[in-house]
Amino acid sequence: MVETLQEIKEYRNIINNVRQQIEKSIIGQKEVIEQLLVAVFASGHALLEGVPGLGKTLLVRTLAQAFDLSFNRIQFTPDLMPADIIGTNILQMEKEKKQFKFQNGPIFAHVILADEINRATPKTQSALLESMQEHTVSVGGITYNLPEPFFVLATQNPLEQEGTYPLPEAQMDRFLLKIVVPFPTDAELKEILIQTTSKSPNEIDKVASAKMIQIIQLAAKEILVADEVINYAVKLILATHPDKPSATETVKKYVRAGSSPRGLQALVSAAKVRAFIHGRYNVSFDDIETMAFPALRHRILLNFEGEANGINTDELIQDILAKTGK
């Protein structure tokens, strides 16, 4: 519970410090950084999508470094097995006695970087489901708690589709945000070039503890949302469903299924954190609209016509935002 203005200010300072630490190694990509921070402080997982070489992995690693949190990277490959992620029971000799002991997998860390998540088989991808949703792992009938806070920050390459396994809808829905990492601008490219080729990488300071992250997460949940804003968010979600009267023409034409209620939760949670980051105590329409893209783009499923026409879900969201009254 937030008690004083001072506390709020302190939390905001921490967030700003984290941002500054990330910006030490990541040039530009301000929106991506913000969205990543939103995902972290909204207690959610994020899926970063972008072509190789844009610094996705660097971004996640820098984030983990800025927090005083344990960090594990899992490189997803087609032969990766669930046990390789969550761990397995192994037979051990202890005091001349043989016994099975659970060997933690790499999932047992605060921050998990699931690199190129779509390269693993669906079976392996599914191994993440429980851990992402419940923050627990069940092996051999025993459930193991994962450390808190726990984030899965996954990356995937949208171009190279050969030998990949697109994430099932259920798993996609577990990600709070799908962050699209754009190509840097000219100025950013120049800065990247200068920074990475002429001097040694900047040292990243640990500016936030696990405890502090959890406190900030709770504080962000207290951000106020007016009825009007909630109604608007609900309208947006309903508008993503082609069978609803409020759906736009493009949605009716290209969408197979709209966002789930989890999408609405994600949207409002993300908007709250954004408002918090921006120094407000209430969510604005702008927060909702801004967070609609990362919160809904992976929750809108295109139909065949949409897929065939190469429709981008961001365009659909843009259309929905334009046509849904506040």
């Binding site: 008690e3 007016a226 209430n282 329409f285």
Partner: protein, 513 residues
């Protein structure tokens, strides 16, 4: 918080008020223009009144609605949020009753920001809600309305005519209803009279309902007015006649046996004379008069006094219908009238004898040179009241001199149904009726009723010297004034057809004391 939103709310109120008023007025102008346009092709009665009503109603509704539709604080907060407050005001209002720290912080933040930006927000909110496009549209509509109002409407004349017709129709309808009620409530009219009058009223109603064209309606309305006046006059005459007959009947009943006998003999003599005359001239009319007189004699014998009067009147009317025959029968009629005078005299005497009361002026009515006759058809009912159907008014002129037959001059008579009649004036000189008070051996007041009637004059002097009751006397001036007053009122109230008004005026001028 609410204090800060109040000025925004006030401005929004004015803006909403003007918006609503503007919209309502615009709708009213559009409707009015449409009606004005339609009225140029279709004759819409009361379209101007309708326009005034629409515009007034719209402006009134707009004003009321604008006042009622006061913007809430919530709307004011929303308006404030538009100016970079990022839903702070709305959220603050939403959570104004929350006691959480974050809600308080949020409120403080909102108030701080609102205080800072309030002047800017107030300056930005315009109370003038209309865009240029709207203003041009409104002005264009107003211009159309103005043009349509100013340019003369060709259907106005027709509408004015229609309005007159409608008003007259309403007046006539009201008159008819009134007349109908009067007839129904008139206890002095017999059932047949009522039926006849009601039938006339219904006929008028049907006629007015059947008319279609304006010209036809106007003509009919004119006719209706005349007929209504006739109806009223007819009713009044029926009433007067009834009263008159009632009195006469009363008087006749009170005659002594000798007097009745004398009257009967006189009538028989007249009837005899007519019978002879009918044979001599071989005249059907004379024969009819003889029959009527015969009826009168029989009615008298049977005590059916109403029938007696009716038959006598019939005989007189028939006698006056043909001027040529009337000339020849003048002498005979003179006798008739003389006999009538006698009967009236006897009636007056009988009154005095029976009641020793002095309401004698009624007896004099029959003796005037101008006779107001009534022709009654029907049977004598139990009360001796006749059912009446036709009313004949005639100006018979002549002097009746008791004992001396005079030379008669032609008189003019008008029939209530609009047919001019010719009657014979009889007698020359003055007629003086003296009723000696010795008959009842008492002192009384002598009354003289008479005046210049036609070519002669008629005068009845009645004396009542009774000791029991002094009696009542009315001067000729009084009686004249009463009747002349009634006639004037009837003329002024258009109860008398135009054609007859001059005749009535001339008549009253001729008998002026």
């Amino acid at each position: 918080m609410l204090d800060l939103l109040q000025p925004i709310r006030k401005k929004l109120f004015l803006k909403t008020f003007f918006t609503v008023l503007g919209k309502f007025t615009f709708v009213a102008l559009c409707l009015s223009s449409l009606i004005l346009l339609l009225s140029r092709f279709l004759p819409i009665i009361y379209y101007r009144e309708f326009l005034i009503f629409i515009i007034s109603l719209s402006v009134l509704s707009g004003t009321v609605y604008g006042i009622i539709k006061k913007p809430s604080f919530y709307l004011a907060a929303r308006e404030a949020d538009k100016y970079d407050l990022e839903e702070r005001a709305v959220t603050a209002l939403n959570f104004q009753n929350s006691h959480s720290t974050i809600a308080k912080l949020q409120q403080e933040d909102t108030i701080r920001l609102l205080q800072k930006r309030l002047p800017f927000i107030l300056a930005k909110i315009s109370i003038w809600p209309f865009t240029k496009k709207q203003i041009y549209t409104y002005l264009g509509t107003f211009l159309v309305f103005l043009v349509l109002t100013v340019i003369p409407n060709l259907t106005d004349d027709y509408i004015a005519e229609q309005k007159i017709v409608k008003q007259q129709k309403e007046q006539i309808a009201a008159k008819l209803i009134k007349e109908e009620e009067t007839i129904k409530n008139n206890k002095n009219l017999t059932a047949i009279q009522k039926e006849e009058l009601l039938e006339a009223v219904n006929r008028l109603k049907k006629e007015i309902a059947a008319t279609k064209s304006t010209e036809e309606q106007l003509k009919l309305l004119e006719k209706m007015n005349k007929e209504l006046a006739n109806l009223e006059a007819k009713q009044k005459l029926s009433q007067a006649n009834y009263n008159h007959l009632k009195k006469l009947n009363h008087n006749l009943k009170n005659l002594s046996a000798e007097e009745k006998e004398a009257l009967l003999n006189a009538l028989k003599a007249i009837q005899q004379s007519y019978q002879e005359l009918a044979k001599e001239l071989n005249s059907d009319q004379a024969a009819q008069i003889t029959n009527s007189l015969q009826n009168a004699v029989e009615a008298m014998q049977n005590g059916q006094y109403n029938n007696f009067y009716t038959s006598l009147n019939n005989a007189m009317q028939m006698a006056m219908t043909n001027s040529q025959q009337a000339q020849q029968m003048a002498q005979q009629l003179l006798s008739t009238l003389t006999a009538l005078q006698q009967s009236q005299m006897m009636l007056a005497n009988a009154n005095n004898n029976q009641f020793n009361q002095g309401s004698n002026h009624t007896a004099g009515m029959q003796s005037s040179g101008d006779s107001t006759g009534s022709q009654s058809n029907g049977t004598d009912d139990a009360n001796g009241i006749n059912n009446n159907s036709n009313q004949n008014q005639g100006n018979g002129t002549g002097n009746v001199n008791e004992g001396n037959g005079g030379n008669g001059t032609n008189g003019n008579g008008t029939n209530q149904n609009g047919v001019n009649g010719n009657g014979a004036g009889l007698g020359n000189g003055s007629h003086l009726i003296n009723i000696p008070s010795e008959r009842i051996n008492s002192e009384g007041i002598s009354e003289t009723v008479g005046g210049p009637l036609g070519n002669g004059e008629s005068q009845i002097n009645m004396a009542n010297n009774g000791n029991i009751a002094p009696g009542l006397s009315l001067s000729y001036e009084k009686v004249y004034n009463d009747y002349a007053q009634f006639a004037r009122e009837s003329i002024e109230n258009n109860q008398i057809p135009t054609d007859y008004q001059e005749i009535i005026k001339a008549y009253f001028s001729s008998i002026e004391p």
